[in-house]
């Protein structure tokens, strides 16, 4: 029983077996931080496979769940050794009037499997709800998806309400969705635009650095 096996179980989405093995490895004295590092690399590889559709959404999802399961087991020990790095807290949702949720779901999954804590607000979400939820969670990011030109104004509205409430600088505002663009992000004053989910884990921390 080794780290390699743990990797394999996580990759195959075998949450329960992976948890048992993680427990055992801990008892054998394997460094929990090392386990997390290895698993994070595995997750990144799984992410690449998904980006090329060599594996499909349910598989990466199961894999993400197994990773979360293992992280739960390891967390108490990690806290002792300095804790696991959380890359950021995100509220995400699809703006008001819009029922297109597939892209948002993928972004959520990719962020979660890359060390972000994500609160999913679903679709057809009122602008103010994004903000209230972000405040409640003390989020770093407010991320919104819009798939229709007719709902893109919702992304602007989020920023306008943040300004009206005088809390614009408390959050980084990220936008995405097929009809959106860097140009639209610039126009409405969003902090970040991502054309693809796969670029999100790299781009999010970059804007946080200049917070």
């Amino acid at each position: 029983m080794s780290l390699e096996n743990l990797n394999k179980l996580v990759k195959e989405g075998e949450t329960e077996d992976a948890k048992v093995l993680a427990q055992q490895l801990l008892q054998d004295g394997i460094d929990p931080l090392k386990m997390i590092e290895t698993l994070t690399q595995t997750m990144a590889r799984v992410g690449d496979l998904f980006a090329k559709l060599e594996i499909f959404l349910p598989e990466i999802m199961l894999c993400g769940e197994a990773l979360t399961g293992v992280v739960d087991i390891l967390s108490p020990y990690l806290d002792a050794s300095g804790g696991r790095e959380i890359k950021g807290k995100v509220v995400i949702g699809v703006v008001k009037g819009d029922l297109h949720e597939i892209g948002k779901n993928i972004v959520k999954l990719i962020l979660e499997t890359n060390g972000f804590v994500v609160k999913d607000l679903g679709y057809d979400v009122d602008s103010l709800t994004f903000i209230k939820e972000a405040e409640a969670m003390k989020a770093d990011f407010i991320a919104s998806s819009s798939l229709m030109t007719t709902t893109m104004p919702g992304q602007l509205e989020i920023i306008e309400i943040l300004k009206s409430k005088g809390i614009r600088d408390q959050f980084k505002v990220v936008i995405g969705g097929a009809p959106t663009s860097q140009e639209w992000a610039d126009k409405i004053g969003a902090d970040l635009y991502c054309a693809h989910a796969k670029s999100a884990p790299e781009k999010f921390p970059a804007v946080l650095d200049n917070k």
Binding site: A51, L53, F56, L57, P58, E59, M61, L62, E65, K96, G97, D98, L99, E101, I102, D120, G122, M148, T149, T150, T151, P153, A178, P179
Partner: protein, 460 residues
């Protein structure tokens, strides 16, 4: 008769059915059931044969789809409850379903009837750009489609602006945009002399209110027309959608169920996409009382369905539905490439070819990944429908279609990820006259010649 007599019971079940957290529905209920059924029924994707001929597998896909619907149910995201149906209800609905309808009115009326695999009767051809266009091109584009000889039904382009106002989802501009949409479309049909052409309208309606606002037998969507009700991917609905199917039935027009199973998403691969597509036809019939099902399975990354991993499920689903039911269903093409590119013409040809020989009606053609404003034209739809008519009339077999599909795929498949975007409508159409430019028509003819040499006997 459609199955709308069940509507009230269905609506009840959306309130009283089994509770489930939305987060759990797909990973814990839909996907495990689908996975189990793929295994149980030994469904296996065969990349060599984009147009497979395995009758027994087609029948197993049907069985798997039936069980998928029965065992998973349909989730209402507003009530968080599952609408479940019993075998008996599915059987009853299939018995009650009509295998043909006359749609459109007067001299423009057309018959849409169930097709068999390798049916010598040509498919019913609905043409649609499936995209948004600038307000200034909207009427011209409606007219350009209506000028297509093989058009049996029109689903017009979608508006993003109405008289200088950006349409905002759910607001008054949406209502106005919807009225403008149907009036442009009807006006074009009248001017052209096909006033009662069958229409599927209006795509500009994002909400139930927008659809309801255009139900008017004099100036709006008529009872001889159809409307669509979508599903949320996969197997989910919401009150705003159930409102639509009920309204369509009460108003008295035809209902079409709009679904796109996603390859790479919760359906997994080609096998799951085929089964889910067939199950959606049952959902459309039993839940929404649909008289036809409009399917656009697509690739999660490309948002297209002309590569082999999507042609195979389209072919399988068509055969499963054709052999086991008398339902009506349209195959909606989604291409990677944009207008006035050879690649787009080849893509639409492959899509129409495979769909036609496997029992589908046609709905052509979303171009440029269905993503960019003004990037679709009637000419690609024309080629698809000409292919459909030709292969039906020449009684093409699935084996022959498979061979031609492979030859077409060889010409474009490797460009799926970086397909050319081509031109916008006004760059390859004379907007004032609503006709293709000479250059565009030349390209159409050139590719048509090439395809004809592969063995398709075009009728003219």
């Amino acid at each position: 008769m459609s199955t709308v007599y069940r509507h009230w019971e269905i609506i009840d079940r959306a309130k009283t059915g089994k509770f489930m957290d939305e987060e759990d529905f797909l990973p814990k209920r839909f996907y495990p059931t689908l996975k189990k059924l793929i295994k149980k029924y030994e469904i296996k994707y065969d990349p060599q044969n984009p147009c497979p001929t395995d009758d027994s597998m087609a029948d197993r896909v049907w069985q798997a789809a039936w069980e998928l619907f029965r065992d998973v149910g349909y989730y209402n995201t507003d009530s968080h409850r599952i609408i479940e149906v019993a075998d008996e209800e599915i059987k009853e609905a299939l018995y009650m379903a009509k295998d043909q309808y006359i749609v459109g009115g007067g001299k423009d009326a057309c018959l849409m009837k169930h097709r068999s695999v390798e049916d010598p009767e040509p498919p019913f051809c609905i043409m649609s750009p499936d995209i948004t266009v600038d307000e200034k091109y909207h009427q011209s584009m409606c007219m350009a489609y209506l000028k297509e000889p093989l058009l049996d039904g029109l689903c017009g382009p979608i508006l993003e602006e109405t008289f200088g106002h950006l349409i905002e989802s759910g607001g008054p501009t949406e209502i106005s945009g919807c009225i403008q949409h149907i009036q442009n479309q009807k006006m074009a049909a009248r001017l052209l002399g096909r006033p009662d052409t069958f229409m599927v309208a209006v795509g500009t309606a994002e909400h139930d209110a927008g659809q309801i606002a255009v139900s008017n037998n004099e100036w709006g969507v008529q009872k001889t027309d159809a409307r669509l009700v979508g599903s949320l991917t996969e197997f989910k609905t919401a009150d705003t959608l159930l409102n639509r199917s009920l309204h369509y039935a009460q108003y008295g027009c035809f209902t079409g169920s709009l679904t796109g199973a996603i390859y790479g998403g919760w359906c997994g691969g080609s096998e799951g996409t085929a089964i889910t597509t067939v199950a959606y036809s049952l959902i459309g019939l039993v839940i929404h009382g649909a008289m036809f099902n409009q399917h656009f399975p697509f690739h999660l990354n490309y948002v297209s369905n002309t590569t082999r991993e999507l042609l195979w499920p389209i072919a399988m689903a068509g055969q499963a539905l054709s052999r086991n039911s008398k339902l009506l269903y349209t195959s909606n093409g989604f291409a990677n490439a944009g207008p006035m590119t050879e690649m787009l013409f080849r893509e639409v040809a492959a899509h129409a070819l495979v769909s036609t020989v496997t029992g589908w009606h046609l709905w052509e053609m979303a171009s440029t990944r269905n993503k960019y404003r003004n990037r679709a034209t009637p000419l690609e739809a024309r080629l698809g429908c000409e292919v459909g008519h030709a292969v039906a009339r020449q009684k093409m077999t699935r084996e022959q279609a498979n061979e031609i599909a492979n030859r077409l795929l060889a010409k474009y498949e490797d460009r799926a990820a970086d397909a050319p975007m081509g031109s916008e409508y006004h760059e390859c159409y004379d907007v004032a006259k609503a006709l293709p430019t000479v250059e565009h028509l030349d390209m159409f003819r050139r590719v048509k010649d090439e395809i004809s040499q592969m063995g398709i006997d075009f009728l003219y």
